[in-house]
């Protein structure tokens, strides 16, 4: 057999499989191509954009160290804290359901607002907490959040919901009999925790550690608000500074992106070595029973959770509200006067508010819709077909999880500045960045939902004469409606709040709300920032409220 025979043979084989009229095959190939086009060009560009330029990190070892410090400490604190919260919230804890919802609130708030809120609370001279404490403890007292430790603590508060969610899921999947067997065989609660529960949670905790690390080193807003004034710079703020300088030093910025990429790639590889083929095999299909025994120390468990909720959500939001509604901030709290001045300013005087609101809403709706549909198609291909290369599509669609958003944006910038496509500086480039960044979320959410749906429900429709599209429209989508709307809403909020890639890709006509907030923070009146932040939150929650109303409309029981 010659090489020509081999080629001809494979060509014939391909032809026969393509000649059959199966919509899902074309769709599978199409989805693969779309995912590859979204993920690969910016990734390759991010890797190669710094070629020829100086490798900037070599000259700023301090920033490299700061970045690693932020990544490692935030990851350790957030995973420990998230695991602790998950372990604390066992059934029987007062207000468990509400606490679970409140703990994940930071997912719906941009870290930018949390950081700004905390700067109102604990900046050394005029922070609210400091003003109050100084009255009580004397004039020298100060908590300083404008510092390295401030950046780390606020970043930790912002990313903790991720490990909490993943570890909670794993915890819920542990069969009670595993714990009971250990108790019966003589292990006390502490030994059970150490020898049984924690090892079973380890894969989930480790998986979340990687996600948190990527988030932490890719986080721009927190170090920009709390770190830069204290001269605590990290890779993301450095990328921003290099691109803001005139002329923009793109090559050097790209070398920082390459550094982040290298670190996260190394860690992803390390994680796959560590976890190997070990899966979360804690759920044992038959006779699965979650634990029902009431826990000890219910009150203190709830207190721990409330403590996190207050630090991560309640206090920063209250601080924002306060800042937005006082006419001016004075060193003496007794001089405080309330007014709607700042809301008037951002709604009627500040020219960017309305265009940014329009852009953000449009981007949010488009991103959430596209990611939901693309995620559904990709996960359908992965779960429901035996199509060749579906494993590759799966892996490709997960790549954005291990690439900081800012690095992707840098790659996109590099690609579309060079392509003769009129995309640069428009909403389209932001849309591409958002869709790529949130694609893994869409695929995961749709996979989880599809797994719950017996394939025979779809197959029965095909046999009954419905086409692939007809089956999707009349069986799959209606059945997944609830979960799809929920993930649509979450995607919408996340897109509304995105900062890290928007800050590199926006132009004056494609400005979005979170960038407008940051812009005001840099140049304007800090009280107006708080007001605009509230406008941003209000806009996202109105749309989500509408979406969730659609979800609760009775369709079938």
């Amino acid at each position: 057999m010659t090489a020509g025979d081999v080629l001809r043979g494979s060509a014939e084989k391909r032809w026969t499989s393509w000649s059959s009229l199966r919509a899902e095959r074309w769709l599978g190939a199409g989805a693969g191509i779309v995912v590859a086009l979204l993920v690969l060009p910016p990734l390759l560009a991010a890797m190669t954009a710094s070629v020829g330029a100086e490798f900037a990190p070599l000259h700023r070892p301090d920033i490299v160290l700061n970045t690693l410090l932020l990544g490692v400490t935030t990851t350790m604190l957030a995973v420990a804290g998230g695991t602790g919260l998950a372990l604390a919230l066992v059934p029987g804890v007062p207000a468990k359901a509400m606490l679970e919802r409140l703990i994940v609130m930071p997912l719906y708030l941009t870290p930018l607002l949390t950081a700004i809120g905390w700067s109102w609370l604990a900046s050394p001279r005029s922070g609210l907490v400091n003003l109050l404490l100084r009255n009580a403890l004397g004039p020298d007292f100060a908590i300083n959040v404008i510092s390295a430790s401030g950046v780390i603590v606020v970043s930790t508060l912002a990313v903790m919901p991720l490990p909490f969610l993943l570890v909670s899921d794993a915890l819920a999947g542990i069969d009670a009999s595993l714990v009971e067997a250990a108790r019966v065989h003589g292990a006390g609660p502490r030994t059970v925790l150490r020898r049984i529960v924690l090892p079973l949670l380890a894969p989930a905790a480790l998986a979340s550690a990687l996600l948190v690390f990527v988030q932490a080193v890719g986080l721009f807003s927190v170090p920009a608000v709390l770190g830069m004034p204290a001269d605590f710079n990290v890779a993301t703020t450095e990328i921003f500074r290099l691109l803001e300088s005139y002329p923009p030093r793109v090559g050097e910025a790209a070398s920082w992106g390459l550094l982040l990429l290298a670190i996260t790639a190394l860690l992803t590889f390390g994680q796959s070595l560590l976890l190997g083929r070990r899966s979360f095999a804690t759920i044992s299909g038959k006779g699965f029973r979650p634990s029902t025994k009431p826990p000890r120390g219910r009150r203190s468990r709830a207190t721990l959770a409330w403590f996190y909720v207050i630090l991560a959500t309640v206090l920063p939001l209250l601080a924002l509200l306060w800042a937005a509604s006082v006419s001016f901030v004075a060193g003496d709290l007794r001089l405080t006067r309330f007014s709607t001045l700042h809301f008037d300013n951002v709604l009627f005087a500040y020219p960017k508010t309305w265009i940014a609101a329009r852009n953000s809403t449009l981007l949010g709706v488009l991103t959430a819709t596209i990611v939901c549909l693309l995620g559904l198609v990709v996960s359908w291909i992965i779960l429901r077909t035996r199509q060749a290369g579906r494993g590759l599509i799966d892996q490709l669609s997960m790549v954005p999880l291990s690439v900081p958003a800012m690095v992707f944006a840098l790659g996109l910038l590099w690609v579309y500045v060079r392509l003769p496509l009129p995309i640069y500086g428009t909403l389209s480039i932001l849309l591409i960045a958002y869709v790529t960044h949130y694609l893994p979320f869409g695929v995961r959410a749709a996979s989880a939902a599809l797994r719950q749906l017996h394939p025979e429900l779809e197959e029965a429709a095909r046999i009954a004469g419905a086409t692939w599209f007809g089956t999707m429209r009349r069986i799959t989508l209606p059945l997944l409606r609830q979960t799809m709307i929920a993930s649509w809403a979450l995607l919408f909020i996340m897109a509304m709040q995105e900062v890290s890639s928007s800050i590199l890709l926006y132009s004056s006509s494609s400005i979005v709300l979170s960038v407008a907030v940051f812009d005001l923070w840099e140049n304007g009146n800090p009280s107006d920032v708080a007001a605009l932040g509230f406008v941003q939150l209000a806009a996202s929650f109105v749309v989500v409220g509408l979406a969730l109303r659609a979800r609760h409309q009775p369709s079938f029981s």
């Binding site: 026969t16 009229l21 029965a460 429709a461 095909r462 009954a464």
Partner: protein, 355 residues
């Protein structure tokens, strides 16, 4: 039109490196009820799904009502919705977001039937399974048995001439299963559709089928009418599967014009007729064994190890020269555990199988 409603030729289905179906060929005549019988993992469900177009075979041909639905060599692979079939799934696959009526009407709507035609067909389908009173009920408010009936009504309402059934009764309790089995048989007889019915339950297969196809490891082990499969299994596997518990390796010798099977322990069993192929085992059903506490001319001695109460019958476990022999009969008071008994099998009841 040909007499065959379903023709499968050289069908092969690969799941990665494992060959789930290896060269399956059979033809089902119009109006025939054919069961694919075998243990789990034998490839019967995969074969059915390949006929439906839900799996893509790696080789072979599927012809439905004279129309080629799949042909690897010619590059033909019709989508499931273009094969004009109906199917009843193991999980029933009743769509929970629709009413009973909408479930049954789905296939007619998908095939763009007229409104009054849909109403008539749905009524006919639901009446056939006795559920016309529940047409407007949401599908989630149905019992398991009712869901099963809706699945059947949905398959019938489409007027497909071929209906595929994938272990449709396996999720029902024993009583309901018997009832549905009889109903389905009557329905199939009345409406005259061709049915390919997958099951792992030999009793179900034998009771229902016009023809049974026994599968093993992706290959056909034996095809035949239920009585043939039941009374004359050709291989040891089929014999085991249809409940012939006494299967013994043997040598066949000619002894004065008659054939005799000689077991490892020297027991000689008279055979009727002439062995056709190269047989290696002799078999007989427990019910064919006659027992007696007293010796007679034909009987052989054994020890009664255990007598087990089975309800209608007793099952006796005998030991003779290192072999265990199973016998069944009405309960009798003259046999005691541990005592010597005498057993015999009429030549008619003995048959030979290959290993």
């Amino acid at each position: 039109m040909s007499a065959e409603a379903v023709i499968v030729e050289g069908l092969e289905v690969a799941h990665g490196p494992t060959q789930a179906v290896r060269s399956l060929s059979f033809a089902a005549r119009r109006g025939e009820l054919m069961t694919l019988l075998g243990p789990s993992g034998c490839g019967k469900t995969t074969s059915l799904r390949a006929i439906a177009g839900l799996e893509t075979p790696s080789a072979g041909r599927v012809v439905l009502e004279g129309r080629v639905a799949f042909d690897q060599a010619a590059g033909i692979d019709l989508a499931p919705e273009r094969r004009g079939l109906s199917m009843v799934f193991q999980s029933y696959a009743i769509w929970p977001h629709m009413t009973v009526f909408e479930n049954v009407a789905f296939g007619l709507r998908a095939r763009r039937a007229k409104r009054d035609e849909i109403a008539a067909s749905v009524r006919r389908g639901l009446e056939a399974v006795g559920l016309h009173a529940l047409a407007d009920r949401p599908a989630t408010r149905l019992s398991g048995g009712q869901q099963q009936r809706v699945a059947l009504a949905r398959a019938i309402a489409c007027n497909s001439s071929v209906i595929l059934l994938d272990e449709p009764l396996s999720n029902l309790d024993a009583m309901l299963r018997m009832e549905m089995r009889a109903e389905f048989k009557a329905l199939q007889h009345r409406l005259g559709f061709t049915a390919i019915y997958v099951t792992h339950d030999q009793e179900e297969a034998l009771v229902l089928a016009d023809r049974v196809l026994v599968m093993r490891n992706g290959l056909v082990e034996q095809t035949g009418r239920p009585a043939e499969i039941h009374d004359r299994p050709r291989t040891r596997f089929v014999a085991d599967f249809v409940g012939v518990r006494n299967v013994f390796p043997c040598e066949v010798k000619q002894d004065g014009g008659r054939f005799v099977a000689i077991l490892d322990n020297g027991v000689r069993l008279q055979l009727r007729g002439e062995p056709a192929k190269v047989p290696s085992c002799v078999c007989f059903r427990p019910i064919s064994v006659s027992l007696s506490p007293r010796p007679d001319a034909q009987a052989m001695a054994a020890t009664l190890i255990r007598a087990t109460y089975l309800g209608d019958l007793m099952e006796y476990e005998l030991r003779a020269g290192g072999l265990t022999i199973w016998a069944r009969s009405l309960a009798r008071g003259d046999l005691a555990e541990g005592a010597q008994v005498f057993w015999s099998v009429p030549p008619d009841a003995c048959f030979l199988v290959t290993a």
